[in-house]
Subunit: 113 residues, 2 copies
Amino acid sequence: MESVFEIIAEPNRRAILSLLVSSQQSVGEIERQLRMPQPTVSKHLRVLREAGFVESTVDAQRRLYRLKPEPLQEVDAWLAPFRRFWSAHLDALERHLDRMEQSTPTKRKRKRR
Amino acid sequence: MESVFEIIAEPNRRAILSLLVSSQQSVGEIERQLRMPQPTVSKHLRVLREAGFVESTVDAQRRLYRLKPEPLQEVDAWLAPFRRFWSAHLDALERHLDRMEQSTPTKRKRKRR
DNA sequence: CCTTTATATACCTTGACACGTATATGCTCT
DNA sequence: AGAGCATATACGTGTCAAGGTATATAAAGG
């Protein structure tokens, strides 16, 4: 299962992570809130745990799962170069719109310059 | 292939995206730089194009592919709540380390309580 | 026109993984 | 100790996507 990207490719796992962002939850609580069968929850939690996305502590018969930040930070880091890319493009768009501004007559433009 | 997350789960596709972040490239250039077979490149580019990650323009027999920002911005948006989470946790870690500071003995702790 | 170059598509095979159902493990309380 | 709840694991099955090889499409240039 290698990479963090493969882990979060699965919709149910993303749902679990989103649930845990607010506070820790037991398996049963996750099961109920997401309406998914208990073995499914346990199996996804296993994957998430082995990949370091979550950790669990024992509370009697329950297990409480909570988020760990590192793997998602890795995703965030991978995105960094692209953020630079698209903010550069926003700038270009602005400049483009500025140019539009001063040369927009109410009527149609002709094609040639 | 549904979601943007599944698209970027594939390592070769991530490599292609990373290549394109600096500037647009033809299929052949991608093929050479990433040392992957041409059909593989074309197939991944197709997936990326249909998902809106890239667009292409024709230049004689070549096709030039360039990045489009939206799908990755979607990933970025999904990460937002988690960023809040882990910055909260960095604060907690700092406080924890502060507490350690003043109570760290040099010797081992014993097991029993 | 024919050849070469660039890219796309078709077909097949293989492997991974998500799911359901059943069962195991383990803790709690009486 | 036994019943009941909470969670984990085992096993069988189907689906789907990635890779390889071969071939198709299309433009360029002699």
